[in-house]
C-alpha cells in the first residue's frame, strides 16, 4: 500500500552507520565503562530499600511533599496562543491539603516584541513561568506544614536559572526548618560523564549525554554518585547521582542541595523504595502527582470555550491546525 522512498531508506541506513561510528569507542566491549566510571566519575554503590520502620519514621517527621508542574498550550503561532501553568504540591500525609497554583500567559498582552530570537524567548518565558510556579507551590506547601522532605520534579539547576530569587527563599526556608530538598530527574540531560570521557579520549567527537552512557550499565538498585569536583564543574550548589531504580535499563537522576549532601544516599534509597520494580524507574508518588497536575487538552478547550467570549476565542486562539480535524 505504501511505497517507501528509496532515498529515505538509504538515509536511514547511513544514519545508523554514523551513530554506530560515533559510539564505537564506548559501545566497544573491550572498553570497561564501569571501571572508567569508578576511577573518574564517582563510586558505584548498591542501595537497599528502606524498611517499613524507616518509612514510618519519615511519616512521623511529616512525610514527603512532591512538587510538579504542567503547562498546556492552546492556539497557533506567536502571539496567538495561550498557555496555562499549574503547579501541585502533594503530601504523602493525606491530612495535608494539596496546594494548587495556576498561571496564565499569552504573548498578546505581553511586552515581548516579535524578533528573530523569538522562539528562544518564548521557551524562556515558558520555562521561567513553569519554574516559578513550581517553586511558589513548593514554598506555599512547606510553609503550611514542613514535611520531612521536599521532592521537586526534575533537576534543581532549572530553578536557579529561571526562578533564582524564589529558589533562594525556598532553600533558606528548607535549611532553617530541616526540610530535605532534592530533585528527581526522570529525563537526565547532563553530560558529566561524556565530558570526562572526551577529555580522556580525544577521538570522541560531539556531545555525549549521560543517559546514553548509563543505559543498561548499572544493575538494578545500583547508584553512581558523582565526585564533588565534577559536580562543581557542571552545576552550582548541588550534589548528584544516578540510580537504576527499576528493572528498566534507564537511570534516573537525583540532585540534592549542597548543604544536605550527606543525605543523598538516604534520599536515593527513598526513591528506590517508592519505585515499582517493573516500571520506567519513576517513583510512583511522583507519577501520581504528575497525573494529578496535568490538565488535559480537552479540559483546556472546554475551559477556554466556557470562559472566553466566542469572538475572542475564535479570533485569537483557534489555529488552522485545530480546524483540520473538523
Amino acid at each position: 500500500m505504501f511505497s517507501i522512498n528509496n532515498e529515505l531508506k538509504t538515509k536511514l541506513t547511513d544514519l545508523n552507520g554514523a551513530i554506530a561510528r560515533k559510539y564505537s569507542p564506548i559501545l566497544n566491549n573491550d572498553f570497561d565503562m564501569k571501571t572508567f566510571l569508578e576511577e573518574n566519575i564517582g563510586s558505584i554503590i548498591k542501595l537497599e530499600k528502606l524498611s517499613d520502620r524507616e518509612l514510618s519514621k519519615i511519616k512521623d517527621k511529616g512525610g514527603i511533599v512532591a512538587v510538579d508542574g504542567s503547562t498546556n498550550r492552546k492556539g497557533g503561532s506567536f502571539p496567538h496562543y495561550i498557555e496555562l501553568y499549574q503547579g501541585l504540591a502533594k503530601s504523602t500525609n493525606q491530612d495535608v491539603e494539596d496546594v494548587y497554583l495556576t498561571d496564565i500567559y499569552t504573548p498578546i498582552l505581553s511586552e515581548i516584541k516579535e524578533n528573530p530570537l523569538q522562539d528562544e524567548e518564548e521557551t524562556d518565558e515558558k520555562n521561567r513561568r513553569l519554574a516559578q510556579i513550581e517553586v511558589k507551590t513548593a514554598l506555599q506547601s512547606v510553609k503550611k506544614r514542613a514535611p520531612y522532605a521536599l521532592v521537586m520534579d526534575g533537576g534543581l539547576i532549572r530553578y536557579t536559572i529561571y526562578a533564582k530569587e524564589l529558589w533562594k527563599e525556598l532553600v533558606e526556608y528548607c535549611l532553617l526548618n530541616d526540610v530535605i530538598l532534592f530533585g528527581t530527574i526522570k529525563d537526565i540531560k547532563t553530560k558529566i560523564i561524556g565530558e570526562e570521557l572526551k577529555s580522556k579520549y580525544k577521538d570522541l567527537k560531539g556531545p555525549l549525554y549521560d543517559r546514553e552512557i548509563l543505559f543498561g550499565l548499572l544493575q538494578y538498585k545500583e547508584m553512581l554518585t558523582i565526585y564533588d569536583e565534577l559536580n562543581k564543574k557542571e552545576q552550582s550548589g548541588f550534589s548528584s547521582g544516578f540510580i537504576r531504580s527499576s528493572l528498566s535499563p534507564n537511570v534516573v537522576g537525583i540532585d540534592i542541595i549542597e548543604e544536605q549532601k550527606n543525605l543523598l544516599f538516604d534520599m536515593a534509597k527513598l526513591i528506590l523504595t517508592l519505585t515499582p520494580e517493573n516500571s520506567r524507574g519513576v517513583p510512583l508518588f511522583l507519577d501520581i502527582v504528575d497525573k494529578e497536575v496535568k490538565i488535559t487538552d480537552d479540559l483546556i478547550e472546554a475551559l477556554l470555550e466556557r470562559y472566553l467570549d466566542k469572538d475572542i476565542y475564535e479570533r485569537l486562539f483557534v489555529s488552522e491546525r485545530d480546524k483540520r480535524n473538523l
Binding site: D52, S56, G63, T92, N93, P276, R280, L284, D287
Partner: protein, 611 residues
C-alpha cells in the same frame, strides 16, 4: 454525592468520594425540578492508581505498602460512581452538580410496598433496602427469614409482597431460571404462600418434589404445618380418568397426548366410540374388529362361523361379521390397531382405573392439589383434567352471566414446573392448547397460570407473552437471556447480571409495578423430599446394610471359613434370609475391611471374630 457529567431526562451518573453504591438501591436527587427518585442501575468504583497502573507501569504491591507506611493510602483515592435511572422521566435533564441523598422510607414506600401482607404473597425481600428497614412500619417487619452466606438470617430488608388481587388485571406468573438457580425453591415459596391464603391450586409435578410435609432443620422452632392444606395425588394410583365420563373429544385428546393421532385414527374413534362406553366395551369392539379384519373378507368370517366348535365361538364371530360389514370401509385396519395400542398403553399406566373427583373436591376446599406422575403421563392427564376443570369453571361463570343455574366451581391457579414440556414452542401438543386457552382468556374466569421453566426459549411464545409477572433467576444460556430480554422490561445492565445472580436472588419484572425489582426469595418453611445428597445417601445405605448384617451375624461369631454352610443354615432359620457361600464371604470380608469384625488366620483358613 453529586450528579456528574452529561445527564439526560432518564439517566445520569452520580459520584461520591466516601459512599459506595449498591445496585438497585434508590436515591433521591435534589434537582431544581424538585426531588426525583432514581434507582442505581450500575455501580462502579474507580481508582486512578489501582489497578496499579500509572502511565502504563505495573505497580507492585510492595510499593503500595511502602507508600502506606509513609502515610499515603492509595485506597483513599477511590471514588464511587453509579449510573442512576429515574423512575419517572423528568421534564428536563437532571442538573449536573445536583446533590443526591438517601431517601426516607416514606418517600419510596409506594414504590415497594403497595400491598398489605394479608392481601399478597410474601415471597422475599427487596435487595439493598436494609438502610430503610428501620423506618419501615412494624407490620412489614419480622415476616420472614432469608438465607445468606452465614446461614439463616432474620429479615432486615423491606419485604417483597406480590399483589395477588392484581392478578385479575395482570394475570399469570412465569418463573425462569437455570437448574440450581433457586427456581424450584421459588416455586415452593410461592405455593406455600398460596396455601396460606387458601387459594385453590393445581400443581403438575413431574419431579415428585412438591411435597410440603417435611420441615427443614433450620425451622425446627418455628414449624409451619401445611398438612391439611395440600394433597399429593398420583395419576393411576389416586386419580385417573373415568372412562364412562369421556366424550369422543376427550378420548381423542387423551390418545393424542399419548402419541399423535393421524386423521384416520381420529376417524376410528369418532366412528367406533359410543357414548357411555366402558373401557372394556370399547376395547373389545376394537379388538373384535381387528380380528375380523385379519380374516380379510365376509366369506372367511362366514366360514369361521360355520366351523365354530361351540355356540359361544359362533356368536363371537357373528359379532365380528357385523362389525366388519359396518366399519371395514371407514376404519382401516392399521388405524384401528393404532388406536388399540394407544388405548392399552394408557390402560396399563392406570389412567382409567380411577376418577378425577378427588381433584375437584380438594380444589373446592381450597387445597393445593399436587398431581404427580411421569412427564409423559402428566402431559396426557393434564390435558384431560385441565380441560375438565377449566370448562367447569367456565360453565359456572357463563351460567352466572346468563343468570342460569350451575354448579359452583372456584377460581384456581395452575402451577407447573418444566412448563416447556406442557406448552412447547414450535409444535402442537394437546396440553399446549388448553394452557394457551387459559393464558389468553383465563383471566376472565379467574383461572391463572404460574409456569416455571429453565428454558423460556422453548416455551410457547403466545403463552410467554401473557405472563404478566416474571420471576427471573440465574440464567446462563445466551438464547434464554435473549428471550428474557425480549419478553420483560429487564434492562441490558440487568440482563448482564443474570448469569451471575446468586441462588435465590431474582429479578421480578411485573406489569403491576412497571419496572423490575431485585429481590431475594425467603427461606422456605418446607423442604423438598429430594434434598438429600445422593452421595450421603449411598454412604447411609451402606452403613445401614452393614449394621443390619452385623446384627444378624454378631451372635454367630466367631465363624470359621470352613463352617460357612452351618452359619448360612442358621441365618436362614432365624432371619429367613438366604445367602450363598460366596455372598456370605463377601459380606464378612466387607465387615472386616471396615474394621467391624476381626479376622484370624487358622490352619483351617480364616476365622472371623468379634473385635
Amino acid at each position: 454525592m453529586k450528579v456528574l457529567g452529561i445527564t439526560t431526562q432518564q439517566e445520569f451518573y452520580v459520584g461520591s468520594k466516601d459512599r459506595n453504591f449498591r445496585i438497585n438501591e434508590f436515591l433521591v436527587v435534589e434537582d431544581k425540578q424538585g426531588d426525583l427518585i432514581a434507582e442505581v442501575v450500575e455501580a462502579q468504583t474507580f481508582n486512578r492508581y489501582i489497578p496499579l497502573n500509572v502511565y502504563g507501569d505495573f505497580v507492585d504491591a510492595s510499593v503500595i505498602e511502602s507508600m502506606k507506611a509513609l502515610g499515603y493510602d492509595v485506597d483513599e483515592e477511590t471514588i464511587y460512581i453509579a449510573k442512576l435511572r429515574l423512575l419517572e422521566e423528568a421534564l428536563y435533564p437532571v442538573e449536573t452538580g445536583s446533590d443526591v441523598r438517601i431517601p426516607k422510607f416514606s418517600e419510596i414506600k409506594n414504590l415497594m410496598l403497595r400491598t398489605k401482607k394479608e392481601e399478597g404473597l410474601v415471597l422475599g425481600v427487596i435487595r439493598n433496602t436494609d438502610s430503610l428497614y428501620d423506618e419501615c412500619e412494624d407490620e412489614f417487619k419480622d415476616l420472614l427469614y432469608t438465607f445468606e452466606e452465614r446461614g439463616l438470617v432474620k429479615q432486615r430488608e423491606i419485604p417483597f409482597i406480590m399483589d395477588l388481587k392484581s392478578m385479575h388485571q395482570y394475570p399469570h406468573i412465569g418463573v425462569f431460571g437455570g437448574s440450581g438457580s433457586g427456581k424450584s425453591f421459588g416455586l415452593r415459596v410461592l405455593l406455600e404462600e398460596l396455601m396460606q391464603k387458601e387459594i385453590p391450586t393445581i400443581v403438575l409435578d413431574p419431579h415428585y418434589e412438591m411435597d410440603f410435609s417435611d420441615c427443614p432443620d433450620y425451622f425446627k422452632d418455628e414449624k409451619r404445618d401445611f398438612n391439611g392444606s395440600f394433597k399429593c395425588l398420583q395419576v393411576g394410583v389416586h386419580v385417573g380418568v373415568k372412562f364412562e365420563d369421556l366424550t369422543a373429544g376427550d378420548l381423542k385428546n387423551l390418545l393424542d397426548a399419548s402419541s399423535p393421532l393421524s386423521d384416520a385414527m381420529n376417524n376410528v374413534v369418532d366412528v367406533l366410540f359410543k357414548n357411555k362406553d366402558s373401557y372394556l366395551s370399547f376395547s373389545n369392539r376394537l379388538q373384535a374388529l381387528t380380528e375380523a379384519q385379519e380374516e380379510g373378507s365376509v366369506q372367511r368370517i362366514q366360514q369361521r362361523i360355520e366351523n365354530a366348535k361351540n355356540n359361544d365361538e359362533k356368536e363371537a364371530w357373528e359379532v365380528r361379521k357385523d362389525l366388519f360389514i359396518q366399519y371395514d370401509k371407514t376404519c382401516p385396519y392399521n388405524s384401528v390397531k393404532g388406536i388399540l395400542w394407544r388405548l392399552r398403553r394408557l390402560y396399563n399406566e392406570g389412567i382409567f382405573s380411577k376418577d378425577s373427583r378427588d381433584i375437584e373436591n380438594y380444589l373446592k376446599e381450597g387445597f393445593l392439589v399436587i398431581i404427580q406422575g411421569s412427564t409423559r403421563i402428566l402431559q396426557v392427564y393434564s390435558t384431560y383434567i385441565l380441560n375438565n376443570i377449566y370448562h367447569k369453571r367456565r360453565e359456572y361463570k357463563d351460567a352466572q352471566y346468563k343468570k342460569a343455574a350451575a354448579d359452583y366451581f372456584p377460581p384456581f391457579i395452575v402451577v407447573t414446573d418444566e412448563a416447556h414440556n406442557f406448552a412447547p414452542k414450535g409444535y402442537e401438543s394437546p396440553s399446549k392448547s388448553i394452557l394457551k386457552e387459559i393464558s389468553q382468556e383465563g383471566r376472565k374466569y379467574g383461572v391463572f397460570l404460574a409456569l416455571a421453566t429453565q428454558r423460556p426459549t422453548l416455551l410457547d411464545e403466545t403463552i410467554t407473552a401473557q405472563l404478566n409477572t416474571k420471576l427471573i433467576f440465574r440464567t446462563v444460556r445466551a438464547s434464554d437471556i435473549d428471550t428474557i430480554k425480549e419478553e420483560t422490561d429487564i434492562t441490558s445492565e440487568e440482563a448482564k447480571r443474570l448469569p451471575y445472580l446468586r441462588t435465590g436472588d431474582v429479578f421480578i419484572s411485573s406489569a403491576v409495578v412497571g419496572r423490575t425489582i431485585f429481590a431475594r426469595i425467603r427461606a422456605a418453611y418446607t423442604i423438598s423430599p429430594h434434598t438429600q445428597n445422593p452421595f450421603d445417601e449411598l454412604k447411609q445405605k451402606k452403613n445401614e446394610g452393614d449394621e443390619k448384617f452385623m446384627r444378624i451375624i454378631s451372635d454367630k461369631l466367631p465363624i470359621l471359613g470352613t463352617d460357612l454352610l452351618n452359619t448360612i443354615i442358621e441365618i436362614e432359620r432365624d432371619e429367613k434370609i438366604t445367602f450363598t457361600q460366596d455372598e456370605l464371604i463377601q459380606k464378612l470380608e466387607n465387615l472386616y475391611k471396615n474394621n467391624l469384625i476381626g479376622r484370624e488366620n487358622t490352619p483351617f483358613g480364616y476365622m472371623y471374630t468379634k473385635l
